[in-house]
Symmetry: C2
Subunit: 426 residues, 2 copies
């Protein structure tokens, strides 16, 4: 093992197709089910999942002092709870097992036991999510929404540049890529009316976001500084914060978004580790005015992650709705976590902290239909010429994310979901 | 067993002092720790806890078809998960065991094994709380806060009478009576400034609330109607929604309360069952305009629960801050749950749904310092003549709740916590 995992020259004996999200430099973690087996922990390599339970049963992790049973769990929480030192060691061992240097750790003869085609397994929600926060950290998005919902002259509220605005979200409605999204019922106002009606949302939207996964518990009363924060961040997923704009608009004052969000949020099944993303750290937007000391940080804390949202319709049309980048975010993850804990709020392994919609400069970098269509006033035109404002039943939204540089590509897989007509009784 | 549990004539062979919160008609559930034992499920009778694990080991529940191990758990979730039919049967059996008719189920000879003085045990947080919602269901409170934070002319926003406004709260900061509360740090504006400072909150407040505990899971995409809702509500606790008004005021627009709330919420340790409260159902405020059909309900769904908040200072002063009643709430629990699930949001066993501050008519029925002191402008005068606006380090707030009628008294115990100076690094 002369090469670092992040070295683009490292190769696996498992075939990894050109453009795959999952080269040996990635090695994300997930939970899969194969046939009628119990859920297990896996990583991804090329077009395969690698079953970590089988590898552990064959003794490949015996010297790593891991707790028993952590690879035969329905979530990653117990594995993540082993701590970064051990999860890093597992990732290093996986690289040793999968790299084309078969002298030290050779699992190639076991390939039929621990490698399964991704198309043959079901990827499950990888986390038990105790608490979930949705931040609002894109200046472009906050400005766009403030302009559309309130007043273009005062689009950013006075607090926005002083703290990463966020709200508590609903953990119970977080689902994994592939799960159906049901169009929510709810209350909203029809144009020109003052009394609401109740029925299926007419302004169903996606939001292109990412979320980070907490990998270490803090205690109530304990603040995690921006300096300490990276030790608490295990990895990242794609996050589609589905939104019903009509419900949201009617309900959100004064206590914030509620039922306009809590019907579904789709995450990608693979938790990409911060180690895999380490080659893609970059600088972010200048923060002006300067933040207060508890939110200040040293060094580069933004990430160059290319993101896109794709719409597929029932009649086979496919259109890229949005191309943006994580690095546009005004607030960094270490600031979000420092803010979250600055009042002593406890964070726990498996918690999710979503970025908020990641819009960027330009019309192509708008991460929601609300922004892309100016709240429905400027419909998108699909390839067949039809106009589209908000999302329709049967529409599929696919979020994708990838880091690319100098021959190295670290991908997130996808967060995909199709909208179904509402199954809820009206 | 000729008498119903709710019959005031039912007596226990265990001594229950006059005015106890825990007569045989109550039988709430909680989790206790005694010496170095693992946590166990218990009920309360007079000044004792009754250890349900010991009773189960002695076969008292053998015929009730309960899952193994549910009484030796750190939370009530597994017990509650047995379903109302079984939890009701356990409560009935406890009444049989504890009543003074010792012919059928006599545990009196085992009293030294299963009864422990409440003063000798530690009551623990009784629930694993997946999601927590805080509603805003008192018209008096919403009107008062709207007047103080915004505009007396438009204190209630247009949506308020059409739906039970609420927001997602933070599960990880819910603590149990007796746990310390640390004064939070946070950002806020000083008077006349436009840039915030960061430091310990200067406007720390309590909020007198109750919360109900969900006893049955729903599925994502499934609405629970007002008619079905009672089947999903297991019981109730007292809830102190500690609030840092300066932090809250600066942060809450546009996405709602966040760090001004998420540093601590104190609940009482005993979950009082809806069966124990069944004698205290009453009618609530008239809802005008009429609610939409999905929020309509039949019959009486309010509860006559007397509530009070008491302040104890470090120098031994004690003052009743507030006396109010659950029945003043505009929105009922069945409406809150129907609203919460109307978009298909899934609810889970152990979820908490808090009422929002329960203020009522009159100065004595205001459930927060914000309202009692008109946002600090009209300080309270303590017995020793000193003025008090918001809460100070060393202050203890005690919430109490009790139902009383025709010789029957069902109490909630208390939710008590003392404020400690902030332990968070500034």
């Amino acid at each position: 093992m002369a090469l670092l995992i992040t070295d683009p020259k490292l190769k696996s004996w498992v075939d990894v197709p050109e453009g795959s999200d999952f080269p040996i430099q990635n090695l994300p973690f997930g939970i899969f089910r194969y046939q009628d087996q119990d859920p297990r922990v896996c990583t991804a390599i090329g077009e395969y999942v690698a079953d970590l339970f089988i590898l552990s049963e064959h003794g490949f992790f015996d010297d790593l002092d891991l707790a028993k049973g952590i690879f035969q769990e329905a979530t990653l929480n117990a594995f993540i709870g082993q701590g970064k030192e051990k999860t890093r060691a597992v990732r290093q061992r996986l690289a040793d097992i999968l790299d084309d240097d078969l002298e030290e750790w050779d699992a190639s003869e076991l390939r039929s036991f621990f490698l399964i085609k991704q198309t043959e397994v079901t990827m499950l929600l990888p986390l038990a999510i105790g608490d979930y926060t949705d931040f609002y950290s894109s200046k472009e998005h906050a400005t766009n929404v403030g302009s559309l919902f309130r007043d273009p002259e005062r689009a950013l509220l006075p607090n926005w540049k002083h703290l990463p605005v966020g709200y508590h979200g609903r953990s119970s409605s977080i689902i994994v890529s592939g799960d159906p999204v049901f169009r929510p019922n709810g209350q909203f106002l029809e144009d020109g009316h003052v009394a609401p009606i109740f029925g299926p949302s007419r302004r169903l939207d996606f939001e292109l976001e990412t979320a980070f996964v907490v990998g270490k518990n803090s205690k109530l009363g304990q603040a995690v500084s921006t300096e300490e924060a990276e030790d608490y961040i295990f990895g990242m997923v794609l996050f589609n914060d589905w939104s019903a704009r009509d419900i949201q608009k009617w309900e959100y004052q004064p206590l914030g978004p509620f039922l306009g969000k809590s019907f579904a949020s789709t995450i990608s099944p693979w938790v990409v580790t911060m180690e895999a993303l380490s080659s893609f750290v970059c600088s972010g937007p200048v923060q002006e005015p300067a933040v207060l000391p508890h939110l200040a940080f040293r060094g580069e804390k933004s990430y160059d992650i290319q993101l896109e949202a794709i719409l597929e319709t029932t009649d086979g049309q496919r259109i890229v709705l949005c191309q943006t980048n994580h690095k546009y975010l005004y607030w960094t993850m270490v600031q979000q976590l420092a803010h979250q804990t600055s009042n002593g709020c406890a964070i726990h392994i498996g918690d999710l902290y979503a970025s908020g919609t990641i819009s960027g400069p330009g019309q192509q970098a708008l991460g929601s239909m609300l922004e892309l269509t100016q709240n429905g006033q400027q419909p998108l035109v699909l390839p067949d010429g039809t106009a589209r404002t908000f999302l329709e039943d049967g529409d599929t939204i696919i979020l994708r994310g990838m880091c690319q540089d100098k021959g190295l590509r670290i991908g997130f897989g996808e967060a995909r979901a199709t909208i179904h007509s509402n199954a809820v009784k009206a």
